[in-house]
C-alpha cells in the first residue's frame, strides 16, 4: 500500500477484529448458485465498505464502484417469480423476450432500491421489564406525546344512541351515524365539520364512497346517498333494509347484505346493480370485506363464514369457524388472516389466503362485540366496555394484550384510522378516539391514498381511479386468476381445430406456472414424512433419556462401606 491510510470520522474499527475473523472460519461446501453468488457479492461489497485495508487487486474496481449493491432480501421481497424459460425457440423472439425479461428484472431492482424512500418507522410502546404495556393508559400517552399527537385523543359526547364510525380511505375524514338517525361527517384532524343532519330514520350502516364528498347511509327502508353537505343525492330503492355495507374501492362497488339475506353489489360509477341474489344463510349482520381479493366474508348464526363474489351465486368457500353464532369477523389488510369470534367467547385466527386453520385459538372471558385489524396487523377486540388491542397475535400465540382501553359506555363498533396510530370507537354515547402506537402504516403512497390531498389532487385521483376500475367479474378467491391461461377452454379450442383438415396441430406444454393446490409432490411428501419421523424419534430418545436420568439419580447406591473405593467407576 502506497497511499496513506485515510482516517474518516466514522472509521472506528480496529484491525485486530479482522484477525479474529480469519481464525474462526468454518468451511462449508456449498454448491454455488447464481443466487448465492449474488448474495455473496453483496456481502463482500458491504464488507468492503467498512474495511479499511484494501486489497491490491480490487483497486480498479474501487475506482468506479458503480451502482450501490441491492440487499438480496429486499430483492426477494419484490421478486415477481420465475421468469421465462427456454421454451421459445425462435431466435428473434427469444432475444426480444430476453430483453423484456431484463426490463422486468430492472423493475424489481428499482423497486428494491426504492425501499430507501420509506423513511418513516412504526411507533411502539416500550416499558421496563416488570411493567406491562397494558398499564399505559391513554392519559399517560397523552401526557408524553407532542401536542398535535395528543389532540388525536378526544371524545365526543353525542346524544343519539349507539354510534357507528367509519374513516375515509385516506384516513382524513370521519363519518358518524347513529341508530337514531344522527349523521355527521367531519375532518377529524382539524375537527372541521362538513355536515350534520338527522335523517329521522334509523341508520343501520354508513359508508364513505370513493371520495369524501359522497356518503352512503343504509336507513330503515332504503339506501340513501348524500353529499358532503348533507344533500340527498340518491335514494336507491333496489337496496332495502340493509344491515351491513362495505365499499370496494377498486371495483367501485357498494356491497350490502339485507335482512332477508339478499346480497347486492351496486356499481356506483354507473349506478347499476351488478350482483343481487339471496345467500340462504339467514339473517346476519356480520360481514366484512377481504381487501386482498374484494370478496365478502359473511358470518352466520351457525358459525359458518362464507365468501361471496357478485357473479357467482354460490359461496366461493365456506369455513366452519365456530359451533356457535358468530359475533364479528375481521380480515387483515393483506388478506392473510381472518379473525372470527363467536358467542362461545372464543377468538380464532384463520389463514384466509390458503383457506386453512385455525392458526390460533383464543378463549376470552366474554364474547367480543367487534374485531378489527389495523394496517400493521394489530387486532382490536371489543369486549363490552373494553377495547383490547393485540399485536402479533396471528403468527404467534400472544399472551396478553398490547393495549387496553376502558370506557364507561358500551362499544358499538370501531375502526383503525388508516395512516394514523388511532383507533376510533363508536359507542353508545358518542365517539372516542384513542392512540394505539404502531397500529398505522407510517409511509403512505400519495398516489394511492393521500391524507393531505388537495381538492385538485382528489379530482385527479378520482379520474384515474375510474380509469383503473376493475370489473366486478374479477372478484375471485385468487385475484391473480386473470393472469392465468384458461386451459380448459383452450383445450376445447384445440380440439375443435383438430377436426379441421390440413391444419397442423400446435404443440403446447400445458404445465401451469403455479402448481395447483392439492397436487403435492410425492417426493416432497416423503421427505416431510421422513423428517417428521426422525424428529419424533429423536425427541422420543431424548425424552427417555431425561426420564432415565431423573430415575438414576434417585437410585441409592449400594454401599460397601470402606470397600466402596474398589467399586468400578462407571465410564
Amino acid at each position: 500500500m502506497k497511499g496513506k491510510k485515510m482516517v474518516r470520522y466514522f472509521d472506528t474499527e480496529s484491525d485486530n477484529k479482522d484477525q479474529d475473523k480469519d481464525q474462526n472460519v468454518k468451511v462449508f461446501k456449498i454448491k454455488s448458485t447464481a443466487k448465492i453468488l449474488k448474495a455473496q457479492k453483496y456481502k463482500k461489497q458491504q464488507y468492503n465498505n467498512v474495511q479499511t485495508k484494501k486489497i491490491e487487486t480490487e483497486k480498479k474496481a474501487e475506482q468506479y464502484p458503480g451502482k450501490a449493491p441491492i440487499n438480496p432480501e429486499k430483492l426477494e421481497q419484490h421478486t415477481r417469480g420465475e421468469g421465462i424459460g427456454k421454451g421459445v425457440r425462435h431466435p428473434l423472439y427469444a432475444l426480444k423476450l430476453k430483453k423484456r425479461e431484463n426490463k422486468f428484472k430492472y423493475a424489481e431492482e428499482q423497486a428494491a432500491r426504492a425501499d430507501i424512500l420509506l423513511t418513516e418507522d412504526q411507533g411502539f410502546l416500550e416499558v421496563d421489564e416488570d411493567n406491562r404495556t397494558t398499564a399505559i393508559t391513554q392519559k399517560v400517552i397523552a401526557d408524553n406525546v407532542d401536542i398535535t399527537a395528543a389532540t388525536k385523543i378526544f371524545e365526543l359526547d353525542l346524544a343519539f344512541g349507539p354510534y357507528q364510525a367509519k374513516y375515509s380511505r385516506n384516513g382524513r375524514h370521519l363519518l358518524l351515524g347513529s341508530k337514531k338517525g344522527h349523521l355527521a361527517g367531519f375532518d377529524w384532524v382539524t375537527k372541521k365539520l362538513h355536515f350534520e343532519i338527522n335523517v329521522m330514520e334509523s341508520i343501520h350502516d354508513i359508508s364513505w364512497l370513493h371520495v369524501e364528498t359522497m356518503i352512503a347511509a343504509a336507513q330503515k327502508e332504503w339506501l340513501y346517498i348524500y353529499d358532503n353537505t348533507g344533500i340527498e343525492l340518491h335514494c336507491v330503492k333496489r337496496m332495502d333494509k340493509i344491515l351491513k355495507m362495505e365499499f370496494l374501492p377498486y371495483h367501485f362497488l357498494l356491497a350490502a347484505v339485507n335482512e332477508y339475506g339478499f346480497m347486492s353489489w351496486l356499481d356506483i360509477s354507473i349506478g347499476e346493480i351488478v350482483g343481487h341474489y339471496n345467500n340462504h344463510m339467514g339473517r346476519t349482520p356480520v360481514m366484512t370485506q377481504n381487501p386482498f381479493n374484494a370478496t365478502l366474508c359473511l358470518g352466520n348464526s351457525k358459525g359458518v363464514v362464507s365468501l361471496w363474489s357478485p357473479t357467482v351465486k354460490k359461496p366461493l368457500a365456506k369455513i366452519l369457524c365456530h359451533k356457535t353464532p358468530l359475533t364479528a369477523i375481521a380480515v387483515d389488510n393483506r388478506g392473510m388472516y381472518m379473525a372470527t369470534s363467536g358467542v362461545d367467547r372464543s377468538l380464532k385466527i384463520w389463514d384466509i389466503r390458503n383457506l386453512d386453520g385455525p392458526l390460533q385459538h383464543y378463549k376470552l372471558r366474554s364474547a367480543p362485540v367487534d374485531l378489527e385489524f389495523s394496517q400493521k396487523d394489530m387486532l382490536a377486540v371489543g369486549l363490552g366496555e373494553v377495547v383490547e388491542i393485540y399485536s402479533n397475535c396471528c403468527t404467534q400465540t400472544s399472551e396478553s394484550p398490547y393495549l387496553r382501553h376502558r370506557m364507561a359506555k358500551s362499544i358499538n363498533n370501531f375502526k383503525f384510522c388508516p395512516y394514523e396510530d388511532v383507533l376510533g370507537i363508536g359507542t353508545s354515547k358518542g365517539f372516542s378516539s384513542i392512540i394505539v402506537p404502531g397500529s398505522g402504516e407510517p409511509n403512505f403512497d400519495a398516489l394511492e391514498s393521500n391524507p393531505f390531498q388537495t381538492k385538485k389532487q382528489r379530482k385527479e385521483a378520482e379520474v384515474k381511479a375510474l380509469l383503473e376500475k376493475i370489473p366486478a367479474e374479477l372478484i375471485t378467491l385468487n385475484p391473480f386468476d386473470v393472469m392465468e391461461v384458461d386451459v380448459p377452454s383452450m383445450k376445447d379450442k384445440m380440439e375443435a381445430k383438430k377436426n379441421l383438415l390440413y391444419l397442423r396441430q400446435q404443440k403446447v406444454d400445458f404445465t401451469p406456472r403455479h402448481k395447483k393446490k392439492g397436487k403435492t409432490n410425492i417426493a416432497r411428501k416423503k421427505i416431510m414424512k421422513e423428517t417428521a419421523r426422525k424428529e419424533f424419534v429423536n425427541q422420543a430418545i431424548e425424552a427417555k433419556k431425561i426420564l432415565a436420568d431423573s430415575e438414576k439419580q434417585n437410585i441409592p447406591k449400594q454401599s460397601f462401606g470402606v470397600l466402596d473405593r474398589f467399586v468400578p467407576k462407571p465410564k
Partner: protein, 774 residues
C-alpha cells in the same frame, strides 16, 4: 496434257529461278497483279506485296517427299487445320449464369447490411431519423467557465470531512512470492498431485460400481480382518489405543445396526418375497435373514448384571422388551407363527378380509330390527375390546390389579369405568411422591427397576393404551353408525313419508349414541403425531420446565401408539401439525361480570371450570356442515358412464343390474379429476367451478412465439402500470419500439451506417442466420 504439265512445270521452275534471283538483290519488287484468288489485302493501286510469311503448306509439301518425314508432315498438317470456335451458349443458359454470378456479388454486397438490419430488428427502440448529428460544439470559453473553484462552504466541509482520495491506479513493482523456476516446479507438483487424485477417484468409482455381492463381501471381510489384526497388535502394544479401536469397531457395528441391512428390503429379499407365499423354504430363508438383522440390531446386554439376574431375565419376559409388542427387535426369537404373520398378505389376507366382511355384511343385512343390529354391534365391539385388552395383558403392565379387572370383567360398561378409574388412579399415584409409588407397586427387583426407569412412561402408556383401545372401539362404532346412517338415509328417501316418524326415532337414538361417543372426545379420524410443542410459555421456574417436559413426553408417548395401530396410510399434512390449542387469555371483564381489576398481576392462565359456552353449541352444526361437504364432494365427482342396454331375453327397467360382462364392457370410468382443494382441510368447503364470466377475461390462446403456458404466463407476470412498478421501469417497459421525430425527413440509410460501431458489433449468429435466410 503432257504439254500442259510440262508447261506448268517449266513455269514453276522458272518462277523459282526468278525468285531465287530476286532474293539475291535487296530491292523490293512490286509485281504486277495477276488475276488471283480473292484476298483481303486489296491495294488501291492493285499492287500486292507478297508476304514473306512462311507457308506451312509448302513446308509440308517438302516434307511429304521424304518417307521419313511423313509423320511429322501429317502432324503439322493436322495442326494447321483451322479450329472451329465452339457454339455460343443458348441465351437463357447464358443469362442464368450471368444471374448466378450477379447474385453472388450482390449477396456479398447486401450481406454487409445483415448486422445492421438484425440489430434494428432486435433493438428495443429504433428512433428515426437514424442519423443524428452531434449537437452544438462547445466553445472553449464556455467549457472553461464551468470549471469553477470550490465555494467557501465546500472548502469548510472538506476540512471537516475530507473526501476519500481516489485510490492510485499506478502499479508498483510487485514482489512475487516465488521465482519463475519455483513456480514451475510447484505447478508440476500440483499437476502430479491432481493426476494421482483423479486416478484414485476413478479407481474408487470403478470399484464402487462393481455390483458383485461376492466381491463386496470379500472386500468387507478383508477389511474386518485387517482391522482385527490391527486391534490384536495394538492390544499387545498399546492397550489404550486398542480400546479406542474397539470403540471404533463397535461404532461400525452400531452403524450397521442403524442401517436397514438384512431387513428384507433389498432386491434379493423382494424377489424371494414373491416366492415366499408358496415356498416354505424361502420363507425360512427370509426369516433367517431377518434374524440376522435382529441379532445385529439387538442391544448388547449389560455385562455387569449378576448371574442370578440373568436367570431371571431368561424366565420372565423382559418388561423393557414387552413395551412394544410389535417391535421385532425386542423379541427373543422369531417363531413360526410370527413368520406366518409376517407373510400375511396376498390371498391369505384377501380371504381373511372376505371373512370379516361377510360378518359385517351379515350384521348389516338385517336392518329391519334395529335392536338386533345393536346387539350384534355390541358383540363385535366386545370382541374387539377383548382383543385389545388381551394385547394390553400381553404387554405385561405392572399394575396387575388393573389387568385382572380388565380380564375378568366381561361387561362393557363396567370395564370402561374400571379401566379408566384404574388409569386415573395410577396417574394420581405418579403425582404423589415417587418413593411411595415405588413401594406400593413394586413386586420384584427387576420390576422395580424397570418401573422406576420408565415409570411415568408406563403409567401414561397404560392410560394411553386404554384410551386407544376405546378409540379403536369407538372408531369402529362411529364408522358403523355412519354407514348405517347413510343407508338409512337412502332408504328413507325412497320410502314414503309414513316412515318419517320411525326415522326420527332412529335418529334420536343414533344421536344419543353419538352423544355418548362425544364423551370420549374422539376428534381426529386418523390421529397424527403431534410433535410440536407450544413455543409460548414464559415461565422460567424449573418446575414449570419440568412440567413442560412432562407434557412433551406425554404428547410424544400419546402419539407413539398411533403409528403402531395403523402403520399404513399415515399421511402427514404439515398444516395438520399446527393444531391450535385454545389459549386462555386474561381479557378484561366487562363491568357486569367482575368489578375487580387484578388481571395484570396474574401470571397463569385462567381456565374456567365449566365451559358455559358449550351450552350455546349446537351439535348438529358440525354434522350438518360435514354432510354438506360430503354432498358437495359427491356432486363434484364424475359419475360412471353407463352405456348398457338390455339385450335379448334380459330384463329391462329400473333397478335391474346389468350382468358382469356387460358391466365391464359398457360402463366406462370417467377421467379422474384433480383432487379437491379442500380435501385435507377439515371443515372447509371450497367450491370449484369455472366462472364463465371470469373466463371471458382470461386468455384462451397462446400467442405466437410461445409453446408453453408456463412461459406465456411468465411473460405477463409483471404489471406495467406506474402504480405497481417504479416510474423508471414503467417508462422503460412502455417505450414504443419505433419513434419518429415529427417534422423531419426520414432518409433511407446510407452506407455510413455500416461503419457504426454498434452495428458492426452485433454478433448474434442465430438471429443473423435467420434474417439472412429471408
Amino acid at each position: 496434257m503432257e504439254d500442259n504439265d510440262d508447261l506448268d512445270f517449266v513455269a514453276s521452275e522458272h518462277d523459282r529461278l526468278v525468285s531465287a534471283i530476286t532474293k539475291l538483290d535487296k530491292t523490293q519488287h512490286i509485281t504486277e497483279p495477276t488475276r488471283n484468288e480473292s484476298t483481303n489485302q486489296n491495294s488501291e493501286f492493285n499492287l500486292i506485296k507478297r508476304s514473306s510469311k512462311l507457308q506451312l503448306d509448302n513446308v509440308v509439301k517438302v516434307l511429304e517427299d521424304t518417307a521419313r518425314n511423313v509423320q511429322i508432315g501429317k502432324k503439322l498438317k493436322k495442326s494447321q487445320e483451322a479450329t472451329v470456335l465452339p457454339k455460343p451458349l443458348e441465351k437463357p443458359q447464358a443469362e442464368r449464369i450471368k444471374r448466378a454470378t450477379g447474385y453472388e456479388q450482390t449477396k456479398v454486397k447486401i450481406g454487409r447490411w445483415d448486422p445492421v438490419v438484425a440489430r434494428n430488428r432486435t433493438v428495443d427502440v429504433v428512433s428515426f431519423p437514424i442519423k443524428r448529428f452531434p449537437g452544438k460544439v462547445q466553445q472553449t470559453s464556455d467549457f472553461l467557465s464551468k470549471l469553477e473553484l470550490k465555494s467557501p462552504l465546500e472548502k469548510e466541509l472538506e476540512e471537516i470531512d475530507p473526501p476519500p482520495e481516489s485510490t492510485e491506479v499506478e502499479d508498483e513493482e510487485q514482489i512475487y512470492p516465488m521465482s519463475y523456476e519455483e513456480m514451475l516446479e510447484h505447478r508440476q507438483n500440483a499437476a502430479k498431485f491432481r493426476a494421482q487424485q483423479s486416478y484414485k477417484a476413478a479407481k474408487a468409482k470403478r470399484q464402487s460400481k462393481i455390483k458383485s455381492k461376492k466381491y463386496h463381501r470379500i472386500l468387507k471381510k478383508e477389511r474386518l480382518k485387517q482391522q482385527l489384526k490391527e486391534f490384536e497388535e495394538l492390544q499387545s502394544k498399546n492397550p489404550e489405543e486398542a480400546l479406542k479401536k474397539l470403540e471404533e469397531l463397535e461404532k461400525a457395528r452400531a452403524l450397521e445396526r442403524h442401517t436397514l441391512r438384512h431387513k428384507n428390503t433389498g432386491k434379493w429379499a423382494k424377489s424371494k418375497l414373491v416366492r415366499a407365499k408358496y415356498d416354505k423354504e424361502v420363507r425360512q430363508q427370509l426369516a433367517e435373514q431377518l434374524s440376522v438383522s435382529r441379532s445385529l440390531t439387538f442391544k448388547t446386554q449389560d455385562t455387569q448384571s449378576t448371574d442370578d439376574e440373568a436367570d431371571e431375565t431368561e424366565n420372565i419376559p423382559d418388561l423393557n422388551l414387552a413395551q412394544d409388542p410389535k417391535n421385532p427387535w425386542m423379541m427373543k426369537s422369531s417363531d413360526k407363527s410370527n413368520v406366518d404373520a409376517e407373510f400375511d398378505f396376498g390371498y391369505k389376507k384377501y380371504l381373511k378380509d372376505k371373512m370379516y366382511k361377510r360378518k359385517e355384511m351379515d350384521s348389516d343385512s338385517d336392518q329391519e330390527i334395529l335392536e338386533e343390529t345393536k346387539n350384534k354391534k355390541a358383540d363385535s365391539s366386545l370382541a374387539i375390546l377383548k382383543d385389545s385388552v388381551k394385547k394390553l395383558y400381553d404387554m405385561n403392565v405392572p399394575t396387575d390389579k388393573l389387568n385382572e379387572e380388565a380380564k375378568s370383567d366381561e361387561n362393557l360398561d363396567k370395564k370402561i369405568v374400571a379401566i379408566t378409574s384404574a388409569a386415573e388412579k395410577s396417574k394420581y399415584k405418579t403425582r404423589s411422591t415417587k418413593k411411595v409409588s415405588i413401594k406400593t407397586i413394586s413386586t420384584s427387583d427387576w420390576v422395580v427397576e424397570e418401573y422406576v426407569a420408565s415409570k411415568s412412561i408406563n403409567d401414561r402408556k397404560v392410560s394411553e393404551d386404554i384410551s386407544t383401545v376405546f378409540d379403536k372401539f369407538e372408531n369402529n362404532l362411529v364408522g358403523k353408525v355412519e354407514k348405517k346412517l347413510k343407508k338409512l338415509r337412502k332408504q328413507i328417501s325412497n320410502i314414503d313419508k309414513q316412515s318419517k316418524e320411525t326415522h326420527d326415532k332412529e335418529q334420536n337414538e343414533i344421536n344419543d349414541e353419538q352423544d355418548n361417543l362425544d364423551y370420549f372426545k374422539f376428534k381426529n379420524q386418523n390421529p397424527k403425531p403431534q410433535i410440536d410443542e407450544a413455543l409460548l410459555e414464559t415461565h422460567k421456574d424449573v418446575a414449570s420446565i419440568k412440567e413442560n417436559e412432562q407434557s412433551l413426553l406425554n404428547n410424544i408417548l400419546s402419539t407413539i401408539e398411533a403409528p403402531t395401530q395403523e402403520n399404513v396410510n399415515v399421511d402427514i399434512d404439515p398444516n395438520r401439525f399446527i393444531e391450535a390449542k385454545p389459549k386462555y387469555l386474561n381479557t378484561a371483564m366487562s363491568k357486569g361480570e367482575n368489578g375487580l381489576d387484578d388481571l395484570d398481576d396474574e401470571e397463569e392462565q385462567v381456565v374456567p371450570k365449566v365451559d358455559i359456552e358449550e351450552v350455546f353449541e349446537e351439535d348438529d352444526v358440525v354434522d350438518s356442515f360435514r354432510q354438506e361437504k360430503e354432498d358437495e364432494i359427491n356432486n363434484d365427482t364424475p359419475k360412471d358412464i353407463d352405456l348398457t342396454l338390455p339385450g335379448w331375453g334380459s330384463w329391462g327397467g329400473k333397478g335391474v343390474k346389468a350382468p358382469k360382462r356387460k358391466r365391464n364392457r359398457f360402463i366406462g370410468k370417467p377421467a379422474p379429476k384433480m383432487p379437491r382443494r379442500d380435501k385435507n382441510k377439515g371443515d372447509i368447503i371450497i367450491n370449484e367451478f369455472q366462472n364463465p364470466k371470469l373466463a371471458a377475461h382470461k386468455v384462451s390462446d397462446l400467442p405466437f412465439p410461445f409453446t408453453s403456458i408456463k412461459d406465456y404466463e411468465a411473460s405477463i407476470r409483471t404489471p406495467l402500470g406506474n402504480t405497481f412498478i417504479p416510474e423508471t421501469a414503467h417508462k422503460k417497459l412502455i417505450q414504443p419500439s419505433v419513434i419518429t421525430k415529427v417534422g423531419t425527413v426520414i432518409e433511407p440509410m446510407d452506407e455510413d451506417e455500416l461503419l457504426v460501431k454498434k452495428n458492426r458489433n452485433f454478433k448474434n449468429t442465430s438471429v443473423l442466420k435467420l434474417l439472412a435466410k429471408q
